[in-house]
């Protein structure tokens, strides 16, 4: 396999690190400094845009190492749509809730608004698995997804009991998706290391 053109440190790792550190760092900074809803959203939007060069560099490297497919490309495009629409939906929900103090159906509608792009992401992952014509790449993604599910089950069980015994604070259920996604990434990384 031709890996001669792969740099020692992959650019996608650097972009990925910049994206995650930037996004989470900005979120933590906003919480520590007690920024308001819209200031936080605007501040997080900037590192969120790093997702685009992150995905593009990942695509280039996958193309070089011969493990890129049209289904992956379509999935990556949907991932950008998901990430940006999630930020906008969260922004709208927080801003509208702060401004209007809604009750009844409107309150429920605004509360579930940010979950819609996440549901789209779940659909998008399913669509990738059905669209992927390369059975080996599909298998690798399924293994990574199962790894992510395992990580989520372990973390949720562990945290749940700590919470039941009042040793840690309650955490919202939406943490399920980021934890699963981190597990998915770990699963992909583990396979990459194993196959070297």
């Amino acid at each position: 396999m031709n890996t001669a053109s792969q740099p020692r440190i992959r650019k996608s790792y650097l972009w990925g690190a910049a994206f995650f550190i930037g996004t989470f760092g900005m979120g933590i900074t906003a919480r520590v400094l007690d920024w308001g809803g819209w200031q936080t959203m605007v501040a997080i939007m900037v590192p969120m845009l790093l997702l685009i060069p992150f995905i593009r560099s990942m695509e280039r490297e996958k193309g070089i190492s011969g493990c890129y497919s049209p289904a992956m490309r379509a999935y990556n495009r949907r991932a950008i749509v998901f990430a940006l629409s999630y930020m906008i939906a969260l922004f709208v929900a927080i801003m509208a809730t702060d401004a209007v103090k809604p009750t009844g159906v409107l309150a429920y509608a605004l509360a579930v608004l940010p979950s819609l792009p996440i549901i789209y992401m779940v659909y998008s992952m399913g669509k990738y698995l059905t669209d992927e014509a390369d059975e080996y790449l599909r298998m690798k993604t399924v293994i990574a997804a199962l790894f992510g599910t395992g990580v989520l089950l372990v973390v949720a069980t562990f945290w749940g009991f700590l919470e039941s015994f009042k040793l840690v604070p309650h955490q919202p259920g939406w943490w399920a998706v980021p934890i699963w996604a981190i597990g998915l990434g770990l699963g992909q990384f583990w396979q990459q290391v194993r196959d070297k």
Binding site: S65, G66, D134, E135, Y136, D195
Partner: protein
Amino acid sequence: MKNRLKVLRAERDWTQGDLADALEISRQSINAIETGKYDPSLPLAFKIADLFGMPIEQIFLRD
């Protein structure tokens, strides 16, 4: 499962990329099959056999 994919490919002077293009799969998949990391499904094995014009059992061998 062992296979003779690498030898058959070399006999035809094909690169992994050539074979991947002909089978419409990724080069990494060809590499995984050749190195025994992955056993292809029956449909893919038949596709490979058709491409080389040989029966499956002459390409894929029992361990």
